[in-house]
Amino acid sequence: MDAFLLLDQWAFLIPLLMVVSFALVGLFGTRLRALEWGGWAAVGIGGIAMVLGVGIAIGEMLHPGTYVNAQYTWLHLAGTPGPFPEGISLVAGTLVDPLSALMLLVVTVVGFLVLLYSIGYMHHDRGLPRYYAELSLFLAAMTGLVLSNNLLEFFLFWELVGVCSYFLIGFYYEKPSAASAAKEAFLVTRIGDVLFLLGIFIYFFHFATTGPSGGWAANGFVFAHGTSPFLPTGSVGSSTLLTIAGLMILGGAAGKSAQFPLHVWLPDAMEGPTTVSALIHAATMVAAGVYLLAVTSVFIGFTATDQLAIVAVGGFTTFFAATMAVVHPDIKRVIAYSTISQLGYMVMAVGAGFAMVGLFHLFTHAFFKALLFLAAGSVIHALGTQDLFKMGGLRKPMRVTGTAFAIGGLALAGIPPFAGFWSKDDILGSMYGELGSHPLYWPFWILALLAVFLTAYYIFRAWFLAFGGNGPRDPTLPPAHEGSWVMQVPLVILSGMAVFGGLLIFVPGFQGLLLYGAGASGIPPVYGPTDLALSGISVTLGAAGIGVAYWLWGNGRIFVLPESSPLQPVRRLLLNRYYLKAAYDWVGARAVYGIARGADFVDRYVIDGTVHGFERAFGAASDRLRRGQTGVVSDYAAYVIAGLLGVFVLLLLVAPYLLAHLGGT
């Protein structure tokens, strides 16, 4: 057996290593005076994990296939007669296939680079041990999620990455805005999680009835179960049930991947350290939603209705998020909106049945988006501000960062030969082939195409504002400088991936990886520029976006929309994020909290009031009765005699009457 295949069986070591790192740094990090010690330990362990991850990915390229390993029973609900005569086993284990190998590659490589970069970026921070502990736990959870071999295990890690994200967004917890953003992220994704859980229930019971002989079940992405078929539930027809389950999965994915309408948390999540934004909120965790959809579409499959819904959500979000990025003054939030938009492309691709195409974009996007974030991080690290309108002229003092940001921008804008071009073009091209048979996809495809223009525009607007011009617009800013080598090395490596990552489709092994799962949808995905006209259109749109950005913002120009312009209301709408954030706040702080206050009032004064009413009634009654207690002996004697008479009446008159008339036993 091949050495790389042997590695599959040890895949579980990757999350385990990161847990060790978490425990090591978390428990002993604060004990040691040298704070960076913990950081380097985490970087070292992350490096080992990366080597394993890359090894597994190479093994998968050499031998594409599905390998289920290291199963153990997490929860065995045995001996519970009823619907499960043989009991239920919820099994945890690892599953290595092209999907997870690709994802594992992204997570371990970007994870390692971010760990390294953080040594420089976070070196001044008091909470360094906490930071590295939480980041290690996140990487453990994320690699665990990628390697999960069933939906429940997936959910366990899914929630764990969510809570790590919660803690890392709220890393600067003294800041009220950070604490608030963390809360928002947790609760909005929680809505998706709840839907996801329902989806799991439906799949659990639905597929349990088909038994292990079902075609998809052979893939192993399923709960293990007893040999007897489970009872079918309800009278809902299976295709309706499947559609609902698919929509629930979409709900979960939308929460995690910040798709409309659950996207509001991601821009606010930029309150966390920039490194966290790069790793969690650009490259890995937010991509978990896309990964979930891909995994579901490959192993279980979506109904046509589900597919349309997923395409609609993804396509709309692509355009919708891009519009908000156009006006925003904060460098990190511009990139955050861009992330939402790019995730929309991936969701759309998976929805249309091209899971691996979506995952290919996830792959390239992870690198160039992490690059953009880390470059922005260097700027923020140097200047201490995130406001684009205060920056300017940074390309001279920060040559590496400026170049890196430009490369990332070109990749994002889809300019060949940068990585983003290949993957985005594949999405648009593959979907174009589907449009004939699915006319309802048309509007979303058009929106996605238009978003190409917006994407190129907003990212180069940011570049010209930060790096173009002659010097900072805010003279109070400190002089800019490059970070130390630990910050520059990841930028260089990621730049390399952003330039050449897309060309990997011409590598046979990698292409084999990407062709996986083609059988599931029946349509082979398209790789490379097969339709040159289409590529021409999208590249032209991208170039036009860059051109417009240069025309409006290049050479230190500042474009100010005239007050009288009819576009002003649109600008306000975009700056206020379509008022959706305000709507969410209203629902949370006014509607739900108002209901809660009302319920509390009812609880205190109506329900408990009734209890107190009883109390008062009994009090009043006993007060009346007490007056009979005069202390006069002859009154008591009268009560005794009256009571005695009452007993006589009961015994001699009432009881015989009852016995005679009611009869019976």
């Binding site: 519970t80 919660y166 009220p176 859980l197 809902v236 319920a599």
Partner: protein, 490 residues
């Protein structure tokens, strides 16, 4: 065979008496008793043979003991004890909670002998309820729990302690009387040969369905008030807010479980036909408790009151799991009772520590406590995350199983408890945002992190929450070692 269950009861009884007598060193006696108790429960665990099942329709218990107690003509009352997987899980919970509570209240200075003695007495009563297999014995233990708790609230409690103690006592006592009437009617109408569980169990099916339904309702009311169920829950927030921390811990961790245990053991198992008749009532009450507990929690300003209302929510899920009437549901209910026992105890300890560290439990007036009291903040985090059902912590496997069972029987109705999960997350996360994060606010100069004994007390519970959350099969295998009665017609 060595009467191990009697030995457990005797340990606690002797320990209680010695604690009462030992003055200033009472805490050492209580600690020693807790360790002996824990060792005995560990012995029970190791020896637990699994349940033999319902041989010939008769429930089987392990470590059974039976001695004649009151035999007067047809009145055959025995001292009968026995355990199965369900009671064993709750015994484990009792042992853990007793140890944690004794350690946590190590610094108690107000009449320590009486305090520790009453703590042990409460645990004794609970253990008695979990192991008694005789109607009268069960009821005596059931009532015996009220007395020490009444004094714990009434003497060591907060400013309105008298009101809360009396409300607690009267409310639950009225419910107990309804329950007693139900139990006695069950024995007499079914013409059971004795008060033993086995004979009541064997005789109950002879009752008509309507009789069973009414008996079930009376038992449900009695057990339900302890749960507590909406709308008979208002004693709980008051009792919790006024009770001292140790009292709250036992109240939420153990006393509420008596209701769930009683309902399963004495109502659902014994009267399955009656149970099926009134199932819709149970569903309505369960849904009401789940929604009400969670929504009202959101509006609370007092941390302890908030946790108290969240208990109503969680016990509502327990009731729902029982009400779906499947073996899976019962399994989930027992698991969830254990989980809630651990987690709510941790949260009540946290709010007690918040109270004496910052002088207030008002969520809005204390903020940013994490840098000053990192250990306390960590405990609050673990407790809150566990309580809102985060995987890898103990509540998740239980809630997952409960909701799975609910989907199995009620299909889309499961959306209600699922949706409420978001509200539950909301009030915990919002509380953490206000109390743990943000700029420092309302922290007195003298505030310092937890004393060692409180850290250890809470640490025991936090460790239990994590261990059983990561490895839930440790508990589940214990419960499923007792085949749960197959419901007729299901």
């Amino acid at each position: 065979m060595f009467p191990i269950l009697s030995a457990v009861l005797a340990t606690l009884l002797v320990g209680t008496v010695l604690t009462f007598l030992s003055g200033k060193s009472a805490r050492w006696v209580a600690l020693a008793t807790s360790f002996v108790f824990l060792a005995e429960v560990a012995y029970l665990l190791l020896q637990f043979p699994g349940w033999a099942g319902f041989a010939g329709g008769v429930p089987q218990f392990a470590d059974g003991e039976s001695y004649a107690w009151i035999h007067l003509g047809w009145l055959q009352v025995n001292y009968t004890l026995g355990i199965d997987g369900i009671s064993l899980v709750l015994l484990v919970l009792t042992a853990i909670l007793q140890l944690a509570t004794v350690v946590y209240s190590w610094g108690e200075t107000k009449k320590p002998a009486a305090w520790f003695g009453l703590l042990l007495l409460t645990c004794l009563g609970c253990v008695g309820v979990f192991v008694a297999l005789d109607v009268l014995l069960f009821f005596l233990f059931w009532e015996a729990v009220l007395v020490p708790m009444f004094f714990i609230i009434g003497y060591w409690g907060g400013p309105r302690r008298r009101y809360a103690a009396i409300k607690f006592f009267v409310y639950t006592h009225v419910a107990s009387i309804v329950m007693l009437v139900g139990l006695l009617a069950l024995v007499f109408y079914s013409h059971a040969t004795s008060f033993d569980y086995a004979s009541v169990y064997a005789a109950a099916p002879s009752l008509s369905v309507v009789t069973q339904a009414f008996l079930f309702l009376s038992l449900f009311f009695g057990f339900g008030v302890k749960f507590p169920i909406v709308p008979f829950h208002t004693w709980l927030p008051d009792a919790h807010v006024e009770a001292p921390t140790g009292g709250s811990v036992l109240l939420a961790g153990l006393l509420l479980k008596l209701g769930g245990y009683g309902l399963i053991r004495w109502a659902v198992f014994v009267l399955p036909n009656g149970f099926h008749e009134v199932q819709p009532v149970l569903f309505v009450v369960a849904f009401a408790s789940i929604a009400w507990g969670s929504v009202v929690s959101l509006a609370q300003r007092d941390l302890k009151r908030m946790v108290a209302f969240s208990s109503i929510n969680h016990m509502g899920i327990v009731l729902l799991a029982i009400a779906v009437g499947s073996s899976l549901g019962l399994l989930a209910a027992v698991l969830l009772m254990f989980a809630h026992g651990i987690v709510s105890a941790l949260l009540f300890m946290s709010s007690g520590s918040v109270h004496h560290t910052f002088g207030t439990r008002d969520i809005a007036s204390v903020g940013g406590i994490t840098p000053r009291t990192p250990v306390l903040a960590t405990m609050i985090m673990i407790g809150s995350l566990a309580s809102l059902g985060l995987p890898w912590l103990i509540s998740f496997p239980a809630e997952f199983t409960a909701l799975l069972a609910t989907w199995d029987r009620l299909a889309y109705w499961v959306l209600l408890p699922l949706g409420i999960l978001v509200v539950t997350a909301a009030f915990y996360i919002w509380m953490m945002q206000r109390m743990l994060f943000g700029p420092e606010k309302g922290i007195p100069e003298s505030a310092h992190d937890l004393p060692a004994y409180e850290t250890v007390g809470m640490g025991i519970l936090a460790a239990a929450a994590i261990v059983f959350g990561v490895l839930p099969f440790l508990l589940v295998n214990l419960i499923t070692a007792s085949p749960i009665r197959v419901f007729p017609g299901v």
